[in-house]
């Protein structure tokens, strides 16, 4: 069984046909990169996996998205529980205006966990997982806003990990970071795939090449090509893919 499977997905914003007949299978414990020029639908597609597009009014979805074989848009699916399983990291680091500790504990608390010891354990483990522990262990009670941008983004990843999802969605997670912070996040993504399935939207071709196992190229709402990353970057089947990754358009 595939970890994520989308079958003939069409998505409309009002009159705009944003995604056209997208079918992709994503395997467990892999990193999948979604690439393509701005407005091609890759972020919209990513946000279907945790139903974040539900927040936008006047949208319509056709087709199916299965996670672990379950249709996540079927009746009776609890969106809160889906999102517990499918974590998300955003473009700009967006820690809550709370302490470092409370940022990571937030997901646990809103999901009804009250056991103090358990919360503390999970917070510490999550911060360790993102290799931030040494930098913040003495200031867990300080505001998360005191951290640098790169640290904040890793904290946001820790926040997502704390509720133990099996999938992590990343929407251009390094586009607001400097090269060193970017390298740290990339390294992290590489390590995290042992435990999680990761889907990452990126504008950075090298990044897709460095960290992903498979790459999907989107163009104007269509999936042009999806293959393992090596093939996409060395022998793309489609000319448009070739043109895009070599920088001839987009």
């Amino acid at each position: 069984m595939h970890k994520i499977e989308s079958k003939n997905v069409n998505f409309h914003y009002g009159q705009t046909h944003a995604l056209k007949n997208i079918s992709i299978s994503i395997e467990q414990n892999t990193v999948t990169a979604l690439i393509g020029p701005s407005g091609c639908g890759k972020s919209t597609y990513l946000r279907l996996f945790n139903r974040m597009n539900d927040l936008i009014e006047n949208t319509r979805l056709e087709g199916q998205i299965l996670i672990d074989g379950v249709d996540i848009y079927a009746k009776g699916v609890n969106v809160d529980n889906l999102r517990k399983n499918v974590g998300m990291v955003f473009q700009k680091p967006n820690p809550f205006p709370k302490t470092i500790f409370e940022n990571v504990a937030y997901g646990l608390r809103v999901n009804g966990i009250t056991d103090k010891q358990l919360i503390e354990e999970r917070v510490i483990t999550s911060i360790q997982q993102v290799a931030l522990w040494d930098e913040v262990k003495d200031k867990l009670k300080k505001s998360a806003f005191e951290l640098s941008g790169g640290q904040q983004q890793r904290l946001c990843i820790a926040r997502a990990l704390a509720i133990q999802p099996s999938i992590i969605l990343m929407d251009e997670p390094t586009s607001a970071l400097d090269p060193i912070s970017t390298a740290k996040v990339e390294e992290l993504v590489y390590e995290l795939k042992d435990k999680y399935t990761i889907v990452i939207v990126t504008h950075n071709m090298q990044q897709a090449g460095r960290i992903s196992d498979s790459t999907a190229f989107f163009y104007m709402g269509e999936l042009i090509e999806h293959d393992n990353t090596k093939n996409i970057f060395t022998h793309p089947k489609e000319e448009r893919t070739q043109n895009y990754i070599t920088g001839r358009f987009g």
Binding site: M88, N94, F96, Y106, K142, I163
Partner: protein, 292 residues
């Protein structure tokens, strides 16, 4: 190559005219404000003394102080806020966080905007009909506070809505993305971030409410009542109405002229203090929000 030409000279001249005009107007407005303030200080300062703000009015309001009017205004402001703040904030949360765009939302918004445009004397009349007569509260602090609260409601709703709108959507998405419900997101993330601005809006509406005369005219304000209220069904004196009374229908208008300016000055100072408080509180809570 880089010499002044006809075009550059004209550009510079136009710019100078435009900015000259704008700065004259802005300074003019500030100057006007200072003139008003200076006028009040010159005319009213001699009236102000410890006795003026702590004593009851005497001798047909030509002597003594304005203590009951100060207390009356403070009580009315407090009462109206107790009513307008929770309802206004809840309405704004509902409008901004829950209702989907559509006819209902547009209708509610239109109505709150209309409410803000209603002349305050109409609120006064409505308050008299509903609270004083229909609900039989009589001329009372309760009736006056509710009427003033109605007047403040659209202001509170709008400023709260603006504060909520200013909260970046990615905070909401991050919270929802962690499996939080909409209400948890609103309560634990959105409201704390918006709080400093909400408080500011609240205090600014206090400034508005404390100076209103018409809404309290038929609902609570007493012409002359030299004692403090003992309950919410008592009448009180209030600064703006007191000012109106001693300037137009006092026993001896000439003799109470100085007291009128003194009263105006006190009223302005109360509004000024509440505005300063607003900006202080915003800074204070702004810092605090980051720390929680």
């Amino acid at each position: 190559m880089y010499n002044e030409t006809k075009i550059t000279r004209r550009k510079r001249l136009n710019q100078r005219i435009a900015f000259g005009l704008f700065s004259t107007i802005s300074y003019g407005i500030v100057a006007l404000l200072f003139v008003i303030l200076a006028f009040l200080i010159v005319k009213g300062f001699s009236a102000i003394s410890w006795g003026f703000i702590t004593e009851m009015p005497k001798d047909g309001m030509t002597k003594g102080g304005i203590f009951p009017a100060i207390i009356g205004t403070l009580v009315l402001v407090l009462g109206s806020m107790l009513f307008a703040f929770p309802i206004g904030v809840m309405a704004a949360i509902y409008l901004n966080e829950y209702v989907k765009d559509g006819y209902l939302k547009r209708f509610i918004k239109l109505m709150t905007n209309n409410l803000a445009g209603i002349p305050s004397i109409v609120f006064g009349l409505f308050g008299m009909a509903l609270f004083v007569n229909e609900l039989e509260f009589g001329d009372s602090i309760l009736a006056g506070s509710l009427t003033l609260g109605l007047l403040a409601l659209p202001v509170v709703i709008r400023t709260t809505e603006e504060s909520l709108k200013a909260v970046d959507n990615t905070f909401r998405q991050a919270s929802l993305g962690l499996g939080a419900s909409k209400w948890q997101t609103t309560r634990k993330v959105v409201l704390p971030i918006a709080f400093p601005n909400i408080i500011t809006g609240l205090i600014l509406s206090i400034g508005r409410v404390s100076g209103e005369t018409a809404p309290i005219l038929f609902t609570v304000a007493a012409y002359f009542l030299p004692k403090l209220p003992t309950g919410i069904f008592d009448q009180v004196m209030a600064l703006p109405y007191h000012l109106y009374v001693i300037s137009t229908s006092g026993i001896n208008i000439e003799a109470s002229r100085e007291m009128a300016y003194g009263t105006a000055l006190v009223l302005i100072i109360i509004v000024l203090i509440s505005n300063i408080l607003a900006s202080r509180l915003r800074k204070y809570f702004g810092k605090k929000v980051k720390m929680n």
